[in-house]
């Protein structure tokens, strides 16, 4: 006997993502899903962003890592509410994992929630968590072939932060090629060039955050 099912396998994830989204909207919180390869500088960008914004927006952070609490400790040191999730091997965060920790985030008292996804250029882009936008980081040392090799993440993101531009003199990375290829995959992508080491470009990024993150 054959039973017709015709169900999207990730339907459960989409349903919980929609629930999360409702909680965020009700609390007036703007949510950014931050994605990149391991070590591109997600936590560093959060540190610089939190310092630059200096309480003008109330920020909280969810840190997703396969193991360890180092990233949450770095954010906690800046006096920001932070929850560390350890996925225990899973290569991405999903809507359910986020749903389970939302009770620990003071949603009513914040404006902006960053979710630092697990370092990985492939899987995180496939699982919505209820975010308003996805933002990806690419560091200069990863090379200029990445947009065409990992198109999905560039297509799904609203903004691309090119980090570690202080290292440009030491690489043969062609930043114009990255911009060209990224734009052709996603014509509406916002692109920022920053260095979390020197602070260059961080201001343009935070100005943009201000312009989008005020929901109420």
């Amino acid at each position: 006997m054959k039973i017709k099912v015709v169900t999207r396998i990730l339907e459960a994830n989409e349903r919980i993502a929609a629930e999360n989204r409702k909680l965020f909207d009700n609390a007036g919180v703007y949510v950014i899903n931050l994605m990149s390869a391991p070590g591109a500088g997600k936590t560093s960008l959060l540190e610089e962003t939190i310092k630059e914004i200096n309480n003008r927006l109330k920020i909280a952070v969810i840190e997703g890592d396969i193991a360890g609490t180092q990233d949450a400790e770095r954010i906690g040191n800046l006096g920001i509410p932070v929850v560390q999730i350890n996925t225990g091997g899973a290569c991405h965060l999903d809507a359910n994992i986020i749903n389970e920790v939302l009770g620990e985030i003071p949603l009513k008292h914040i404006d902006l929630l960053f979710v630092e996804n697990v370092g990985n250029l492939v899987c995180p882009a496939e699982f919505n968590i209820g975010e308003d936008i996805k933002v990806m980081l690419l560091s200069i040392t990863e090379g200029d072939d990445k947009p065409l090799k990992y198109p999905l993440m560039f297509q799904e993101s609203s903004a691309l932060v090119l980090n570690k531009i202080d290292l440009l003199p030491y690489t043969n990375t062609d930043i114009e090629k990255i911009k060209r290829d990224a734009f052709s995959l996603n014509p509406s992508l916002k692109i920022f060039k920053v260095s979390c080491k020197t602070g260059e470009g961080v201001r343009e990024w935070t100005d943009w955050l201000f312009s989008i993150a005020k929901k109420d």
Binding site: M1, C123, D181, L185
Partner: protein
């Protein structure tokens, strides 16, 4: 890369449908997987075989129907279909400014139960 979590979702949905229809064993599960879904079929079958033990789906096999990638080009304005996992440029004109409209499907089509 996340074939185990996909396999667990497949198992949950299949068992749920089997129970709801009043049957107690699943013989096969037919999936539709787009070429651009980011799923390796072999890895998914391997993961499924690992998670199905001691469930209604213990003896179930996975049947995969592949769906091609469909897109439309921003440059030559044509629609195209491709069996490639990664479409990096328009197969018609070579432009890399295009939209993918299908090919990321990840669905359970039907299950065979007894």
């Amino acid at each position: 890369m996340h074939e185990v979590s996909i396999a667990l979702n497949v198992l949950d949905i299949a068992i749920d449908n089997c129970r709801k229809s009043g049957y107690d064993r699943i013989e096969s599960i037919r999936l539709k997987i787009g070429r651009a879904a980011g799923i390796m079929p072999d890895a998914l079958v391997f993961a499924f075989d690992a998670v199905k033990t001691d469930t209604l789906a213990e003896k179930a096999t996975i049947i995969i129907d592949h769906a091609p990638v469909g897109g439309s080009c921003n440059t030559c304005k044509k629609n195209f279909v491709s069996e490639e996992t990664y479409v990096l440029c328009c197969p018609e004109c070579g432009s890399n400014s295009f939209r993918i409209n299908s090919g990321r499907e990840l669905e359970i089509i039907d299950i065979e139960v007894v």
